[in-house]
Symmetry: C2
Subunit: 291 residues, 2 copies
């Protein structure tokens, strides 16, 4: 398998879909602000995970592009709101000025709202799937993105600034803040592609470990990478005085934990055989993250 081509093909597909879906001239300037952040590049990790999970259970990830791109819209809205001055107050993201630095805070707020809303519209446009399965899928995405998932995790994150939290608290925080959307991506892809219940369970476990590894490597990166590599200001955790896997486990400890977690994540994929090769390769990419 040519994994580089696999990634590039899917990234192109996602980018084309997102461009097309935001090209229509709207009634206000909010469309431009939405497109600015949505089309700013990015790894498209969540949509690609969704497609790779569908492939892993014997389906075809290409068939689920609407739900996949909806997830990217949710991810992007969360970044726009997270970067606002009342939140993390970041000036750079993906190598460009953040949304509110270009469009102002009010429009950035509404661009985030617009993307979150559009995400659901787009997901519900998904074809190639029984309507009752689509309903279950999108409902679960909402659950993972909301107050019991991503949004709840962001509040825990706010509350952890300038405060020493425990390793268990930090894990809860990140399971919600970043983990839940990875779970949504992987489970959505697997479910829509017809995963059996034991397959869905293995995929869920994989996604949990993937999310954990993603966060640990994120924290390592925040210490080790430069602004140029990350496309945003590095050292931002320290600036906000946040507990991270590096501060709670030391840098070496965090690296060992990341390695162990990635290994366990790969083990979850064993039952899926060669079909899970793309998902394995995506997981291995976390070993050498620079952004």
């Amino acid at each position: 398998m040519n994994f580089i081509k696999y990634l590039e093909d899917r990234k192109l597909l996602v980018n084309n879909f997102l461009e097309k879906r935001t090209a229509k001239k709207g009634i206000s300037r909010v469309d431009e602000a939405m497109a600015y952040s949505l089309l700013a590049g990015g790894k498209r990790l969540r949509p690609i995970l969704l497609m790779a999970a569908a492939d892993a259970v014997g389906g075809n990830g290409y068939n689920y592009l609407s739900v996949a791109c909806g997830l990217e819209m949710i991810h992007t809205y969360s970044l726009i709101h997270d970067d606002l001055p009342v939140m993390d107050n970041d000036d750079y993201r993906r190598g460009r000025l953040t949304n509110h630095k270009v469009y102002g805070e009010a429009l950035a707020l509404l661009a985030g709202d617009g993307l979150l809303t559009l995400a659901f519209e787009v997901m519900l446009e998904q074809k190639n799937i029984a309507p009752e399965v689509l309903i279950e899928t999108v409902k679960e995405v909402a659950m993972c993105a909301g107050n019991y998932g991503m949004v709840g995790g962001q509040v825990l994150d706010l509350d952890s600034e300038d405060k020493q939290i425990t390793q268990a608290q930090m894990r809860t925080l990140h399971e919600a803040k970043t983990g839940a959307l990875f779970i949504a991506a992987v489970r959505s892809g697997a479910r829509m592609a017809g995963a059996k219940s034991e397959e869905l369970l293995a995929m869920t476990h994989f996604a949990e470990l993937f999310g954990l590894a993603f966060q640990i490597t994120d924290d390592i990166m925040d210490v080790e990478s430069t602004k140029e590599e990350m496309g945003k200001n590095s050292g931002s955790d320290a600036k906000l005085n946040k507990s991270t896997y590096v501060t709670l486990y030391t840098l070496e400890g965090a690296k060992a934990l990341a390695e162990k977690t990635l290994h366990e994540a790969l083990e979850c994929l064993e039952p899926f055989g060669p079909k899970a090769e793309p998902l394995r390769e995506i997981t291995k990419m976390l070993y050498n993250r620079k952004n």
Copy 2:
């Protein structure tokens, strides 16, 4: 028909649903902030409109409480974000301090995000309806709430501050900002209750006129009512130097336009006979709005 009882029954039903749906202890403080605004009273106009529209086409509005309450969540999130300092910067809403005055701006932002997300989860839980009809319904709600509807309208509203706009521009603005969600409510109720296509068309026309009348009476109220009657600061349009139906048509002109619009809205309901009585009564309430 005892209309007072009709309204009270449905309001109670909506309030009970919303309380129950937000009672579960979550992972963070965001749940409390979400419940604060969601359970702050309010007329529950959009859910009641949805139910009354279902009744009007011969269905039973009680059956569609999930979608109805999802609309109230969307409405509430929009108020929370609209009240933020970067937007209208309001301190009072529904007779109480606004969300950010109690919980701070970051949490208010996330409470809005949480409510918007939960709205879709709750709507997709709707029973008593074919899954493909539910998908169409919720997709249309998203369209009405997003950048081509409510969110787009809010941006037009922002852009109209300190600026003279035309009557046509103001109509476009309000059709999107407030009208679209009324259209979503009325069409959702009618569609789920099995409206025929000509009925759906008549309902759409009714909702457009209802939304227009709502906005005109809102602008009249902003001039004529006291803070106590409105539950929020009156005169806020003048404060933000906004064009309104009163500034563009004069107070008397706005009153005449409201009357004419309400009359036309009621005409749209004629084909529905006695079943549309609740919808007629709700419309007539706009003649004497105090909040």
